[in-house]
Symmetry: C2
Subunit: 190 residues, 2 copies
């Protein structure tokens, strides 16, 4: 019999982020996370395969939303606008969770192995966008270049968003960076 | 007394690439690399800290050349043109070593850990470009966005260059991708 615990996932996430921040990621065990959340380790493993998944468990959903939004952008959209639609969709989705994102970023920045994992996540998202653009009949290298530039926009916007002094929404920052990318790539030497 | 071996570095690189290709990176030891090259393991360690350095030993030189070229681009160059100058400089430098680059790419693609290392190398290059652009008075987020887009151009060009069917030079492919990036980011939905 599985005992139902109210909001177990949320409690585990909160406990994990607290411990990662206090002690560091490597120094935290799943047993300690469960204990801090007032749950059993068995309950932890019902929600997460390991402690890293607390930080990266959302990656697949993010990828699906991104790919889906690029794929479903209006017919005739330019590659730039299709990628913009995808980035705005994930920005909207993430925007509610800034507190978690700020804590998560601090944990990742402090740990080289997690930074590598984050780079792999971003590279995977770039590949997925490129595949989706090709399916929209965008030829290479334009598809790959727009995918890489789009993920660059996301990375830069995300870093601005989690900055302590920031008050703007992630969607706003993504739109701003997309426009800046256009300006900087168009600028010619006088 | 250190015995001088003619072209020891080149022989060790060649032996390492052969073994990595034949057996895989993980299944190759430094002792085997030295033996294949007809040298001692001690000689290997005079040139490389470990077997991974055979693949990544050039990273610092590449970064210095890239950063130097971006920094020294003509005064008044747009951020796009300064980054283009940097990418063309490293493309010129790498262009002579296509055979090594093709083998290296195959070894890296076959090994997730080396892929991570390669992503870190590229992220480090992007950060270095952003720092250099800021020193040229390019404000953020333009500096970071142009740096990320530039590394995207390099990644895509490099992958096209090492493709088995490719006959174009890396410099040519970098110029082509820079132009394509301009076109794809400028395109508006009709």
């Amino acid at each position: 019999v599985v005992r139902w615990e109210p909001n177990a996932r949320g409690r585990l996430e909160k406990a994990a982020m607290e411990l990662f921040s206090e002690r560091g990621f490597d120094q935290t065990t799943t047993a300690e996370i469960a204990k801090r959340a007032g749950l059993t380790e068995r309950t932890f493993f019902r929600y997460f395969a390991d402690k890293r998944e607390v930080l990266f468990g959302g990656a697949q959903g993010l990828k699906d939303l991104l790919v889906g939004s690029v794929a479903e952008a209006a017919a005739g959209s330019s590659p730039f606008d299709a990628v913009a639609a995808g980035l705005e969709a994930i920005a909207c989705y993430l925007n509610e969770g800034r507190e978690f994102a700020v804590e998560r970023q601090a944990v990742i920045v402090a740990n080289p192995e997690l930074q590598e994992r984050e780079l792999i996540k971003l590279a995977t998202l770039a590949s997925a966008i490129a595949v989706t653009l090709r399916a929209r009949s965008v030829p290479d290298p334009a598809a790959s270049l727009m995918a890489e530039a789009g993920i660059g926009v996301f990375k830069v916007s995300f870093e601005r968003w989690v900055d302590a002094t920031n008050t703007r929404s992630l969607v706003d920052l993504v739109r701003d960076s997309l426009e800046e990318l256009r300006v900087v790539t168009a600028a010619v030497t006088r």
